[in-house]
């Protein structure tokens, strides 16, 4: 165990990375989509390195056993050096064992995507942006939009490109204090640590609010509110015509 500890750790971490990036799409719960190739390469490199170093260690150990005298001197000096200066021997740096925590978590119980808990902790803040015109929306109704796009058009677009359009958006449900409910989605730029929230208030649904954290696709039209670019315009409001429950999408976050 001591001799192959380092190799074992490398293989474990590599396997965990490969499990979430190559063999499933779980990585989307933690990082943005563009990171996948790098994750796959890193996972493969770590596994290969772990195996290669185990083989190297094994062969050199055998060599040392064969050549008694020369080998002994070297080993003694090195062991001492290792213990005195940074407290680890053949098993690798002791702190490295912390890597087993995220690795085993990913292999055995991949943590869930962030949801309503994180969304509600976020203070109400909107993307920094001035009022101005936006590029034209694609033709056709309903048009599929991200919640972030809908919000910024609703709040900052002086061209009012949402007017008269039917839009469709997907997110999870969160509840407000006063009986209002929202379709909410977190927006991740690099990893889940930088998640920020977009939410759109839903009005006019016949069945009442679905339970928190249910994933829904809503279709409806923009309900103008407040003066453009002010706090009163936030959050944007949708007059909904249909609310459909859906499965959580493979990518639970919106990308920038």
């Amino acid at each position: 165990m001591r001799r192959y500890g380092s190799s074992l750790l490398l293989v474990l971490v590599g396997a965990a990375v490969l499990r979430i990036s190559l063999f499933s799409e779980l990585y989307l719960r933690y990082v943005q989509a563009g990171l996948r190739p790098y994750l796959v390469v890193s996972g493969a490199v770590l596994v290969l390195l772990g195996v290669a170093m185990a083989v190297v260690r094994r062969t050199t150990h055998d060599e040392h056993e064969a050549g008694h005298e020369a080998g002994h001197d070297d080993d003694g000096a090195d062991d001492e050096d290792g213990h005195h200066h940074h407290g680890h021997g053949g098993g690798g740096p002791r702190i490295a064992w912390l890597l087993t925590l995220p690795a085993l978590a990913l292999l055995l119980f991949p943590p869930p995507a962030l949801g309503s808990y994180s969304a509600e902790r976020e203070a109400a803040r909107t993307a920094a942006q001035g009022v101005g015109t936006f590029p034209a929306l694609p033709a056709g109704n309903p048009v599929a939009l991200t919640l972030a796009e809908f919000s910024s058009r609703a709040i900052y677009d002086s061209g009012r490109s949402l007017k008269g359009r039917t839009v469709r958006m997907t997110g999870f449900v969160t509840h407000g204090d006063d009986g209002a409910w929202y379709v909410t989605r977190l927006l991740v730029t690099c990893c889940a640590a930088d998640a920020s929230t977009s939410k759109v208030e839903v009005r006019g649904d016949a069945d009442g609010a679905p339970p928190v954290d249910t994933w829904v696709t809503v279709t409806g039209t923009w309900h103008p509110k407040g003066k453009l670019g002010t706090d009163a315009a936030w959050p944007a409001v949708l007059d909904v015509s249909s609310v459909k429950r859906v499965k959580q999408p493979a990518d639970p976050y919106e990308q920038r």
């Binding site: 380092s6 190799s7 490398l10 971490v13 990375v17 979430i20 719960r29 933690y30 990082v31 990171l35 994750l39 890193s42 490199v45 390195l49 772990g50 170093m53 190297v56 094994r58 050199t60 080993d75 090195d78 050096d81 200066h85 940074h86 690798g92 740096p93 002791r94 702190i95 490295a96 064992w97 912390l98 890597l99 995220p102 978590a105 990913l106 055995l108 119980f109 991949p110 943590p111 995507a113 962030l114 949801g115 309503s116 808990y117 994180s118 902790r121 976020e122 203070a123 803040r125 909107t126 993307a127 920094a128 942006q129 730029t189 690099c190 990893c191 889940a192 640590a193 930088d194 920020s196």
Partner: protein, 334 residues
């Protein structure tokens, strides 16, 4: 005779590998069964939404750091194994005061976030680069490389001054810190761990050994930093931010502290800064200048690479210099 021996050896190896695999597999299976039976019972009580969010952020920071850390350790192990000792001393000006800005500007070439630069700076020092110059590189690389600058310009559309401000303020901080180290730094604060030198020397084997050691060592500290970042991410409510947006001075300091505790990767911090719309541009600049140079994850990584005495002194002084530099640049440009 020889042949027979190798065959016998091979057989022995295969049998041993098989035994290990069976034993290890059985142990893993046993653990997995126990955990999957007992786990849900325990987990239902303990796995509250905040705990789940903590695990997600914790693993996210660690997963996100792995490719960059690996890139950094590959570069640093390659420097250790393939680059002759003399190269860097010849490339850099002899005079430390000159070498510092050159090394700082050289940070442009390492396209990664801050996890990558710590091991590289460590191996540069081992290869005889003056610590002051290596430290300037350490600070500037994650802040001024093209990937980060492009991300900043996307996050702040139509505000090229923000990108310029970030470049100038980060480079200034890095160079000032290099000079400060050259003037006041003491060798004994720096504790460069000697690599395990069982197979010292050069070549592929040294590269592999160096890579393995550096990655595991830095990886352990990355996990430590990820845990700290996740803890702050979950426990500090964002609404605290709204209390301080009114005072210009407090808001700069607040965002500079926030950059330390949130540990947002330098390629993403511009987007986070852009979303902090209630704050002055100078405060947001401070967030982007401090973030890649001082944060919990980096302090942990630096502690691992250079020792605690160094990490504590260096990080705190860097924080002050970075804040001052972003205030000056912000006042001048923004």
């Amino acid at each position: 005779m020889e042949n027979q021996r190798t065959v016998a050896d091979g057989l022995r190896l295969a049998v041993r590998a098989l035994v290990y695999a069976v034993l290890g597999g059985a142990a893993l299976l046993a653990i997995a069964t126990v955990v999957s039976v007992l786990g849900p019972m325990l987990a239902l009580d303990l796995y509250t939404p905040p705990v789940a969010a903590w695990w997600t952020v914790f693993t996210a920071v660690a997963v996100q750091g792995v490719p960059f850390l690996l890139l950094g350790t590959v570069v640093s192990a390659a420097i250790g194994a393939f680059v002759p000792e003399k190269v860097f001393t010849r490339l850099l000006p002899r005079n430390q005061a000159l070498a510092v800005p050159v090394a700082g500007a050289a940070g442009v070439v390492l396209p990664g976030c801050e996890c990558a630069s710590v091991p590289v700076a460590g191996s540069l020092m081992r290869r005889g680069v003056a610590p002051a110059a290596a430290l300037a590189f350490l600070l500037s690389a994650p802040a001024i490389n093209p990937v980060v600058l492009v991300a900043t310009s996307i996050a702040f559309p139509g505000q090229p001054k923000m990108v310029l401000g970030r470049l100038v303020a980060s480079l200034a901080t890095a160079v000032v810190m290099g000079w400060l180290w050259a003037r006041f730094g003491r060798e004994e604060w720096l504790r460069l761990p000697k690599r395990e030198t069982t197979h010292s020397g050069r070549g592929l084997r040294a590269f592999g050994a160096g890579l393995q050691h550096d990655f595991l060592h830095a990886g352990g500290f990355l996990v430590l930093g990820a845990a700290a970042a996740a803890t702050f991410n979950i426990t500090v409510p964002r609404s605290v931010l709204d209390l301080f947006t009114d005072s210009a001075w407090l808001s700069v300091l607040l965002l500079a502290v926030l950059a330390v505790v949130l540990c947002v990767c330098s390629e993403a911090d511009a987007f986070v800064a852009a979303s902090l719309s209630g704050f002055s541009p100078t405060a947001r600049l401070a967030f982007m200048v401090v973030g890649p140079m001082v944060d919990l994850k980096l302090i942990a990584l630096q502690t691992g690479t250079f020792g605690r005495a160094f990490a504590v002194r260096f990080s705190s002084v860097t924080w002050v210099v970075a804040v001052v530099s972003s205030v000056l640049v912000g006042w001048w440009l923004l």
